[in-house]
């Protein structure tokens, strides 16, 4: 059976298999792997009509899917069945993507390891004792394990790039506003980015072409034209490209094995003609503090709607991380503390965004590691919320600025995947795919399947 959407579409065109056979295969695989991986919260049955050329997909359980249990991986919504679907879900359905189910994640997308789910942690298919990253843990694992060919996810502080880098998959965090947020549980309304995880860069480009676009229901969605992002994916002339390496992302805090793999990938681009320039993003170190004021503030407001009145259960069912964040947010916005915390964090945010504006005057894209450490063991960090927060240090600044980033496989360290991120100015997704494709063509890391033991 196929490993990528591209192979699938080719197979349909040459009549290698029927869509019924394909969906049946991935459905079976999803069920078989569920016990070891715990990547799904709901596996849907497949008696719904299967369109021709159907592509197997699954959705992070914060996506509203009409008639299908949507829990946000929280006990609070353990019985919630949305009466409507997210805009992106409807768009993908129209483009023949067939849902196999709803994927596990950190509850309300609060986390970087998948361990904050009220439905149990998801396991990394490359080593079941390790975390797969988060918050889109189930999404990354569903793709890495071959249970689906694409998984929808969200990235608010790194929640797509982080698990993609830990599972040898491609994770796209689009520009803020590129893809409609309507119908997807809002965490941080000013940074939530609707993206997806695939095996390959071409697949990622294909899916973005289907999900992107202005939505009447999302006032923050952009009218910038949506491209066919696969059209020019192989056309980049690297000799015309300047790649920046932000020095703050390569300092002594980064695991040296990770830096090494990332630099190897950069060498590939250098050999193909790209100019590599060292740059600086001076306010990088304030990112985590900035984020962990703004995010809790916004989510404390967004989660206020969960009272158990119109839907869901009462607020006593919130997990510890949700409670922590709601409290921090309420504190930061309360009188007497607003100026010192929330207003200050917003100023810090402006400085972080300005750092990127400055740097993109000199270079076309940035390349950097996604995380400063290798995936920890499940259970290792779960009692240290602050340590969890620091895992997002290299991904958060991108969300603060609202710019896009693509995480692609950068190899393995002792058989555990490592990723790198390609960061660009707003609406530069086409370029990110082109750069990522050059790395992927040379390394083909996506061919290395997980052992799942």
């Amino acid at each position: 059976m196929v490993d990528t959407i591209k192979e699938l579409l080719d197979g349909y065109n040459t009549k290698k298999f029927t869509s019924k056979e394909v969906i049946g295969y991935f459905h079976e695989k999803s069920k078989q792997l569920q016990q070891k991986l715990n990547h799904y919260i709901t596996i849907q049955n497949i008696d719904r009509e299967i369109p021709q050329q159907a592509i197997p997909i699954a959705y992070k359980d914060i996506y509203s899917t009409k008639g299908v249990l949507t829990t946000c991986a929280s006990k609070v919504l353990s019985n919630y069945i949305p009466p409507f679907s997210a805009t992106v879900v409807k768009k993908l359905e129209q483009a023949n993507f067939y849902s196999l189910g709803k994927l596990n994640c950190d509850a309300f997308a609060h986390g970087a390891t998948g361990e904050n789910s009220d439905y149990g942690a998801t396991h990394n298919p490359y080593d079941l004792s390790l975390v797969p990253g988060g918050s889109s843990s189930g999404s990354a694992v569903a793709v890495a394990s071959g249970s689906v060919l694409v998984a929808m996810a969200t990235d608010t502080g790194g929640s797509i790039r982080n698990p993609a880098s830990f599972t040898n998959t491609v994770g796209l965090k689009p520009t803020y506003g590129r893809v409609s947020r309507y119908g997807i549980n809002a965490m941080t309304s000013s940074t939530d980015s609707i993206g997806h995880i695939t095996k390959t860069v071409w697949d990622s480009a294909y899916v973005l072409s289907k999900t992107a676009g202005k939505d009447y229901h999302d006032a923050t969605s952009s009218t910038i034209p949506v491209l066919d992002y696969t059209l020019k994916i192989n056309d980049l002339d690297l000799s015309k490209i300047k790649i920046g390496l932000p020095k703050e992302y390569f300092n002594e805090n980064i695991d040296s094995d990770i830096s090494k793999k990332v630099k190897e990938a950069i060498e590939i681009l250098k050999k193909k003609g790209a100019e590599i320039i060292e740059v600086s993003l001076p306010n990088t170190d304030y990112g985590v503090a900035c984020y962990y004021v703004i995010t809790p503030s916004e989510l404390s407001s967004n989660l206020a709607r969960l009272t158990g009145l119109r839907y869901g259960l009462g607020r006593e069912n919130f997990g510890d991380e949700a409670v922590r964040r709601i409290m921090i947010g309420t504190f930061s916005l309360s009188s007497g503390y607003y100026d010192a915390f929330y207003a200050k964090a917003m100023q810090a945010r402006n400085l972080i965004a300005q750092d990127f504006d400055e740097v993109f005057k000199k270079v076309d894209v940035l390349i950097a590691p996604v995380t400063s450490l290798m995936p920890p063991k499940i259970g290792e960090q779960v009692n240290d919320p602050l340590k969890n927060y620091l895992m997002d240090a290299l991904t958060i600044p991108v969300n603060m600025a609202g710019i896009p980033a693509l995480s692609v496989p950068a190899g393995f360290v002792k058989n555990i995947p490592v990723g790198l991120q390609i960061i660009g100015p707003k609406f530069s997704e086409e370029l990110l795919f082109q750069v990522g494709k050059k790395i992927e063509d040379e390394t083909e890391y996506y061919k290395i399947r997980p052992a799942i033991k």
Binding site: P83, Y286, L309, R310, M327, Q347, A348, N350, L351, P385
Partner: protein, 98 residues
């Protein structure tokens, strides 16, 4: 950063949360660590920097004041997940005291 039990109880009230004593102790400890960490933002020189941020770059997005019928929910759909319904309405706690 020190945050005392009265402050926590006040936050609970503001946040419509009511924690058990055990949970409150655990969360208070976590909060002290986290707030101490984020307070490090005080070191940053932000003079002259705006305290608002336009994430989308958009301005004054408006739509026609007309319902989009195909996306509207029926009364049944809207009530479908309610814990308590009465005569086609959500049942809520009393908000006006006499």
């Amino acid at each position: 950063m020190k945050i005392d039990i009265d402050q926590i109880k006040k936050l609970e009230k503001l946040a419509n949360l009511s924690l058990t004593d055990e949970r409150r102790d655990k969360i208070t400890h976590n909060l002290q660590n986290i707030l101490s960490y984020v307070a490090s933002l005080q070191k940053l020189d932000t003079s002259g920097v705006s305290a608002t941020f336009n994430a989308s770059g958009l301005k004054n997005i408006a739509v026609e004041d007309e319902p989009v019928l195909e996306d509207s929910l029926t009364s049944e759909q809207a009530l479908s997940n309610a814990s308590e319904k009465v005569r086609g309405m959500f049942k809520t706690k009393k908000v006006i005291n006499k």
